[in-house]
């Protein structure tokens, strides 16, 4: 059973056991505009919560994507290197950024559920 959580920085997390798949929200991709480049963390990198983990660039600007929780990077979405525009077409699906092994599940407590995130972006 997958649980969806959101950060105030417009990342989504799909929680499956102690693994989180992380991406940016549909709201975030709309704000960014056409995505032309994505830089992903290296597999095996130990990320601290709130640390810059990835970069997403539109024609206009570069934006950091922060680690929503502390943990080790298990896998990254290599499809984004070849097709950054996936972030615009399927931000909350095929355009996931990385998977992280959650070090401390208590960190999830500070995240939003879908209803809270909708209110946050309203």
């Amino acid at each position: 059973m997958t649980t969806m959580l959101y950060t105030s920085d417009h990342e989504w997390l799909a929680i499956d056991g102690d693994t989180a798949t992380v991406g940016i929200t549909d709201y975030a991709q709309q704000q960014l505009g056409d995505v032309v480049f994505v830089e992903l963390p290296k597999v095996g990198r130990a990320l601290k919560k709130a640390e810059a983990a990835a970069v997403v660039e539109s024609v206009k600007a570069a934006s950091d994507v922060y680690a929503p929780v502390t943990g080790e990077v298990l896998e990254t979405n290599e499809a984004l290197a070849a097709e950054p525009a996936l972030v615009n077409s399927d931000a909350q699906g095929a355009a996931w950024f990385f998977k992280i092994k959650i070090a401390d599940k208590s960190e999830l407590g500070g995240l939003m559920d879908e209803a809270a995130y909708k209110a946050h972006t309203a």
């Binding site: 505009g33 032309v36 480049f37 830089e39 660039e57 024609v59 206009k60 570069a62 290197a81």
Partner: protein, 381 residues
């Protein structure tokens, strides 16, 4: 606070049109301007290169320089005291690119100067227009009336379909060639039309009375070949065209020679010319023409896909050493589907093909000095 901030922003005569078209409005040079429309920067950019785009550039300053003597050459001679260009040689109905220089040879602003027969018509940058006007008044008031044309809007129609689109509203448009400029009626409205722009594409810039601006813009947008284009695509288009953005690629610390704008300084104003020197900073600028410049603006193409943006330091080697220069404009070039940038490097590292490195997020990314424009321009000569 936010509301107050937005209230303090100026609006162009096309502001309500931008809002009704779904423009995403941002502050730019004191104006509330559309950075993009619902199509987005990428599509707006590509549409301009494939068909035609309409830009609101009404935030720019339009100034008439009227000679007190009634002879336009007197206004031209007067303006030559402030710019290193040959203004006297601009024929009636023609336009030329120029720069206001300072005593150190730096650039105060860049501008377009057109000869309208009995006066000169200037278009200057939005962020510099008050300062430019004051500069003109302080230096040219004995010879000229400096007339700020604040009641006019300015739109640019750019792209391969621009001529066909404008021809429907202005029969003379197709007979104009690159840098022709003068009064023309467009849809019966008294406009100033020039065949020029800031995208590298063929196209026109149309100065229109503010009260007629929205009506004219809507007529142009009624043509299915025309999309409204925001400031985001304006920037990526001019970057691909290798054109300088004032305050970024050129400023008071760069001379026209360092900025690789020698082509814009005619022989008559250089050493040995009929009216050599006689503009602010002439000593330094002419010395730079004589091999005295130590750095130069160059085009840069990255090997990888990561955009290299303004401010990125440039290095000669993949590790260690001090920066040799920096990127002044950079981003993703939608027509090339690759990063493009420009920046300043030492003259000995400015040859085409020279390998350099830009530091982005702590990594040295390889790039090479490349010819500009990055995308071939399509001016109608």
């Amino acid at each position: 606070m936010l509301a107050h901030h937005q209230d303090s922003l100026k609006r162009t005569p096309l502001h309500s049109l931008h809002v009704s078209l779904g423009g995403k409005m941002v502050p730019f040079a004191g104006y509330d301007m559309p950075v993009q429309y619902p199509a987005g920067v990428l599509k707006e950019h590509l549409h301009t290169r494939a068909a035609a785009g309409l830009f609101d550039v009404s935030h720019m300053g339009q100034i008439a320089l009227r000679p007190k003597s009634g002879k336009v050459e007197d206004a031209a001679r007067a303006l030559e005291r402030l710019v290193p260009q040959d203004i006297v040689a601009i024929a009636p109905g023609r336009q030329r690119y120029a720069q206001f220089t300072n005593a150190d040879g730096g650039i105060l602003d860049d501008l377009m100067v057109a000869n309208f027969g009995d006066h000169l018509f200037l278009v200057v940058n939005a962020a510099c227009k008050e300062q430019d006007e004051a500069h003109l008044r302080a230096n040219l008031s004995d010879d000229c009336l400096i007339d700020s044309l604040a009641d006019r809007a300015l739109v640019a129609l750019q792209g391969p379909k621009a001529e066909a689109v404008l021809a429907k509203l202005c029969a003379e448009a197709p007979s104009m060639t690159f840098m022709d400029a003068g009064p023309h009626e467009v849809a019966g409205i008294k406009c100033f039309v020039s065949r020029s722009g800031y995208t590298g594409e063929d196209g026109f810039e149309i100065s229109v009375p503010a009260s007629d601006a929205e009506r004219l813009a809507r007529m142009l947008l009624d043509n299915p070949d025309v999309l409204p284009i925001g400031l985001g695509a304006r920037d990526s288009l001019r970057l691909e065209a290798g054109l300088c953005l004032y305050g970024h690629d050129i400023d008071t610390a760069t001379t026209p020679v360092e900025a690789a704008l020698e082509w814009s300084v005619q022989k008559s104003r250089r050493a040995g010319g009929a009216r050599a020197g006689g503009f602010p900073g002439a000593g330094k600028i002419l010395a730079h023409f004589d091999g005295g410049a130590s750095r130069r603006r160059v085009g840069l193409r990255a090997e990888g896909r990561a955009p290299v943006r303004e401010g990125a330091p440039l290095f000669a080697d993949s590790a260690g050493g001090e920066p040799v220069g920096k990127v002044t404009s950079g981003g993703f070039g939608p027509s090339l589907s690759a990063p493009v940038a420009m920046g300043y490097v030492p003259v000995n590292l400015s040859a085409l093909g020279t390998k350099l490195f830009a530091e982005v997020r702590g990594q040295r990314l390889p790039l090479a000095v490349a010819a500009m424009p990055f995308v071939k321009n399509t001016y109608k000569r």
